[in-house]
Point group: C2
Chain length 338, copies 2
DNA sequence: TCCATAAATTGTAGCGCTACAAAAGAATGA
DNA sequence: TCATTCTTTTGTAGCGCTACAATTTATGGA
């Protein structure tokens, strides 16, 4: 682009390739965008020369000229743990299979997310994938005005456009049913403080409702700091014990918090699940590796990623799927911790 | 961009804003790019109208017109664990402070990395940050031809342009010195199979050299599969025990593998560090949370991220820093596992 | 009042690419 | 041989924006 001092960097454009190959710029363009329109032999020659000269088509220019983009932007809240790994892989694989590219942005607050959304809109990406339904009002407004395809994942309804996820209430009920069936009666709940996303907030009412139906107390509740990782476990256990020292089970918002609880149990010499049963959420890798293995909810994150991108591409090619909602389900995985 | 069926989506351009505000398009452009050139009152009016109409400047067009980009691309190999979290935060913070934006791409093989590099070059980003020095020859070639600013991180020398990282050999020696000083004599080594990156390969020769100098055997070596997480720990311990059942210490390529070894020790009833001392690498969150705490190497990943982006921006604004190498150092953290 | 200077605003041209239409070549059948 | 059709290639125009130069407007002194 800019020739740095002492660099040979000539800017290679479609025009250079065309001259070198003895064809018109349009033939070069077609070689990349519509290979079928170009004769086999010509195409190969152009490709060879492009590779030799290190040419990469300028997306910015192509985007501008065509009004279309083959880049999809995804915003994820964290790379602190593995929960988004398969989700991103699902998005990448689906995008690649359709000739699209995925770029990411990391945003751990709604404000950062808003900045990331602006970046992506500025780049005129084909669509945006978000996690959760907790966004800045200004960002929601902007996305609606721009009318860019947006998918919110990990939720089953969102304020913007499309959504893909599983029912957190159903999953919460599934875990509690297992605990109740095994005879646990003093069941604690760990959630996240301040979280406005349905990804987390829908769990607590379900907890209260299920326990109430069984005539049990549902006040063993602690809300942890969302930025804590393993460390949230010990803190939460401490608080819950103060509310009721006879607590015999606890459900956690993530496997990381659950692992933190297990570590704390180890320090206290509590046997799991005899003294305390522990359930996690997410089926992170640590859930199967730690001893005892964690009972947890396995959301189909890879499929969620696939669906997100598929829905964006569908819209991009003209399918009228506004407001579409896809349920990717979940699976309860029972291990030794309950 | 494309008007989806049934959407109001008018495309808002700089021109629309200019008409609505009663100024020329250039004044709108200046309002965003060179605010000082525009009168306070005019600027505010333009900004207000732009916000009302949900206008976000089209980077693609701006990039094309100016030949400059304020977007930096970073490619990270994994989001499976926390090791890159602070690194990315360092990059983001530094970029934001300078008015740049960071976008990410996830690539866990050299081939995926090559695709990611192409995506970023296609977008004409201002610079690219890579992890390690293991890349596809074609990708290296392309980056050199393009003469785009590139920083390789976690290494102290790279085949492309600039580098920022710490000495893996010095860190390896530091760990081994601690183990030797504590009296461990049957020290095992876990590395990664097939890894060509200096990030991992420089450790083994140093291991052999340090042990040889102390007159100890250095054949307790196992190379793990790079795609394994915690699971690599148990496998590796198994193999090392077959080589020498009296193994009394082991150094691991990451804290995750080390945690896997700790989990396996728990299953076997081995006390750590009495029966086996375990050292990790990276100071992931789990290192301080697990019992016993892991002795590990803490690289200054946040600073590494800061430096990477700073070097790219320096180049972008014309500083001749080709081939620059920055050492961000490391710290040995001793905990109960050794 | 007029001229010099600074501040604010505005045309013009073109960045690299692609949609579209037009043109040139090749292939077919009568 | 010459229309007719299909395949392949090529101009033209313009996407939304910014560098740069040119112009208009305000400011201040003599």
């Amino acid at each position: 682009m800019t020739k740095g001092p002492g660099q040979t960097g000539t800017v290679v454009t479609m025009h250079s390739i065309a001259s070198a190959a003895g064809v018109s710029p349009m033939t070069v363009s077609n070689t990349f965008r519509h290979p079928a329109r170009v004769q086999e032999e010509t195409r190969r020659r152009v490709m060879r020369i492009a590779a030799e000269m290190g040419y990469v088509p300028n997306h910015a220019a192509g985007n501008l000229a065509s009004g279309h983009s083959r880049v999809i932007g995804a915003i994820i809240p964290s790379i602190k743990n593995s929960s988004f790994y398969k989700y991103v892989r699902g998005m990448q694989d689906t995008a690649a299979a359709q000739g699209y590219e995925l770029i990411l942005n990391l945003a751990d607050t709604a404000l950062h997310e808003q900045a990331a959304i602006q970046t992506f809109i500025g780049l005129r990406v084909a669509g945006i994938a978000l996690v959760g339904d907790e966004h800045e009002p200004a960002a929601i407004d902007l996305l609606k005005k721009t009318a860019i395809p947006v998918v919110e994942s990990w939720v089953q309804a969102g304020p913007i456009d499309m959504a893909v996820g599983h029912s957190t209430t159903a999953a919460t009920k599934a875990i509690l049913d297992v605990l109740l069936a095994r005879g646990y009666r003093q069941i604690g709940f760990i959630g996240y403080e301040g979280a406005a996303s349905r990804r987390f907030t829908e769990r607590l009412p379900m907890y209260r409702s299920v326990l109430a139906q069984s005539g049990l107390s549902s006040d063993l509740v602690h809300l942890a700091d969302e930025t804590d990782g393993f460390g949230a476990g010990p803190k939460a256990l401490d608080r819950l014990c103060r509310i009721n020292p006879r607590i015999d089970a606890v459900i956690c918002p993530t496997d990381i918090v659950a692992a933190g609880v297990l570590f704390e149990c180890g320090r206290r010499g509590w046997r799991v699940p005899d003294r305390l049963a522990v359930a996690g959420w997410g089926d992170y890798e640590i859930a199967s590796e730690i001893t005892p293995g964690l009972t947890t909810i396995q959301p189909n994150t890879y499929e969620m990623g696939q669906q997100s991108v598929a829905m964006i591409i569908d819209r991009a090619i003209g399918k009228p799927n506004q407001g579409q909602i896809v349920d990717t389900g979940f699976r309860l995985i029972e291990r030794a911790s309950t």
